[in-house]
Symmetry: C2
Amino acid sequence: MANGFDPDSSPDLSPEATDLLRRRSQVLSSSYRLFYSEPVDVVCGQGSHLFDAAGNDYLDVYNNVPGIGHSHPRVTEYVSAQLATLNTHTRYLTEAVVSYSEDLLATFPTALDRITYACSGSEAIDLAVRLARFATGHRGVIVTANAYHGTTELSAGLSPSLGENNPLGPDVVTVEAPDGFRDDPATASAEFAARIRTAAEDLEERGIGLAAVLVDSVLSSDGVQPEPAGFLAEAATVAHEFGGLWIADEVQPGFGRTGTMWGFERHTGTRGDTQPGPELPGLEAPIPDIAVLGKPMGNGMPISAVVTRAELGEEFGRRVRYFNTFGGNPVSIAAARAVLEVVREEDLPGHASTTGAALAQGLSDLAQDFFLLGQVRQAGLFLGVEVVDPEAPRAADPARASAVVNGLRDRRVLISASGPHANVLKIRPPLVFGAADTDRFLTSLADTLASLRA
Amino acid sequence: MANGFDPDSSPDLSPEATDLLRRRSQVLSSSYRLFYSEPVDVVCGQGSHLFDAAGNDYLDVYNNVPGIGHSHPRVTEYVSAQLATLNTHTRYLTEAVVSYSEDLLATFPTALDRITYACSGSEAIDLAVRLARFATGHRGVIVTANAYHGTTELSAGLSPSLGENNPLGPDVVTVEAPDGFRDDPATASAEFAARIRTAAEDLEERGIGLAAVLVDSVLSSDGVQPEPAGFLAEAATVAHEFGGLWIADEVQPGFGRTGTMWGFERHTGTRGDTQPGPELPGLEAPIPDIAVLGKPMGNGMPISAVVTRAELGEEFGRRVRYFNTFGGNPVSIAAARAVLEVVREEDLPGHASTTGAALAQGLSDLAQDFFLLGQVRQAGLFLGVEVVDPEAPRAADPARASAVVNGLRDRRVLISASGPHANVLKIRPPLVFGAADTDRFLTSLADTLASLRA
């Protein structure tokens, strides 16, 4: 994991935090990792800020779950009211889940008209791939070479970024992701589609067939790769040729982060944020066949969803079934309703677009002075910055990236790193990130970079 | 699914409920099922009661998620306070997750000393089986013939109760569950262990090896089979002989339902509810190697956990990793803390024991009069009643069971049916089920049975 705490180190922590670290290691499994050379102990959050026990204010430029801001009062209000009233499952009739579903579907192209709820992105990806395999009768799934799609056995098997000890699933093949820094932008899209084609042909020749191309709508663990916009539509067209589906992993980009309600809209040109999309036909149209939603959906309350066309899921629902005890429970739905309302009322896609552009401009300005910043990539409030060896401008430099991340952490600014070489700064704050936050971030980064040069 | 609503029927519902039913079918996927010939629309819950929009009071004798009662004020209080303060993931240091973990582990035998959190029972089962396979180097998993363990691809593949269109996973084998009604109680335990042995030998001969025996601590979908107490310890001993693990699925029986804090305690004689257990050695001791917790853990807030020995999970954690964004988030932990406190303060295991015994006695009394009640099985507030053809006393009668379930629903008493023949009444109320609730249930059941005889 990029940016992990080394438990064998001796961080300079308060006695309380040191004690907590010790107790933690005695109850939580060894799977658990902490962030940063010096872990952060947080006790409360507000907007895009986190606070430790001493009252220190950390600027959160990392967390994409609390999209509408930490501790948003409307989430608290709706969830509390629902918890005090009713929390049960979907085998009784309840209004809340139906009306929320209607509102959520209205933000998608009309063809995407049915929802299934689950608890986590992993569960939703797992279900989406089962659906795709059942609907197509094929088994093969194509993912990008450093993809991350989840932690169930099936979704971990679709996540090469988890490393060599995490085996890929049977019938899962990888293709190199576009690389906005090193590819020729004029041909990157066609080349990505060609790699999909080769992989699909290979699956066909092996008698496996293509069930789905599963891709983040902004490639995240591949190093934050939003460009060239449109490349997913081109890839999807190839998938459809082979009878496969396009599964859009919107777990990170969804709910406004990329400047549109859904990340796939940057690729398809389909409609924006809060309005119903145009009527579109089935497989031929370059819109996703399945969209998978998660992280920011409930601002941290566990909820995720699979959105697809009625006919695509019909046989599966009838013959295989799917019931998720907590999936679509009215309390998680209450949180999701609060999120959807705030995203619309505050036009967070628009805000992400504006603020993200300002951040990108500030970062590009810094890159003029600091040659270890190799390239700035941005779609809304999803930004990646290549950290390179200043002497070898396209050579990934994970050590310097780590120094930047931890230098910012020392200045109480939280980001992380990503990408196959762990050298891409991952800048992905809550969507309510404001102008003052942008200034503080850029100032702290300039200070960090200056200190690294000194 | 036993006891499902037939969408092609025309139930006698209010105009509002009919409209909601129509809207629901236009947004939720075809996987969704409703309970009962006439679905119930619920708007609020309190203790062991649910209420519809007209204010009708339904007695909840079915739901095992709200163990401490529907809409429990302490859950609302703790969750609201935490939501207004902080909700984030486990890569920062947070006190709440550590102190809850300490308290939860204190209810287990000392050897079970590490926790990993997830969102749902399915995710936790999925992780438990991955852990078992990694730790043993074997692939085979033995489950009971009508088991249900979850909805991810891996856990659905361990769930033969999902039916013939849901394929079992590779290297998953089934054994017949004990049948408290038809087996000889003197030999049932040894016969179950012998079936495990045969399956394990088969896995070994095929070069697959035994990774785990995965069993509900009270067999639920196999028809509510709690007896003979001890049979799981005997089965586990066989598993250990073959180098496999015992994974105790506590998703349903855990947190006091069976009269002890954990369902496996009925089988192992290990310690009770709130005290640390004895120091026990590793694989040889007949305690579970892995316990999987879920449903009632957060009274409906999505949270689940895998509890195991530190050394068993260590290599997996170091080499494979596991991170679950929502797993162990402080808001779900706040709900879990409320549950654990109430379970202890109100001695809900003890209450389940007493109330369950009273229910079992009342049911046995009814069985004297109504010959369609074939056998009453009970462990705490987990009860199963065989519904049989009165003319052929051991012949499962799913039609009569369905008539009883729907007759009770007409009297606003909610139960369901279970088992390979869907003929076992599943009686499994919130643990706060009281004496008046017991009376009302038994009276309504007597009335239903009388009307069916009429």
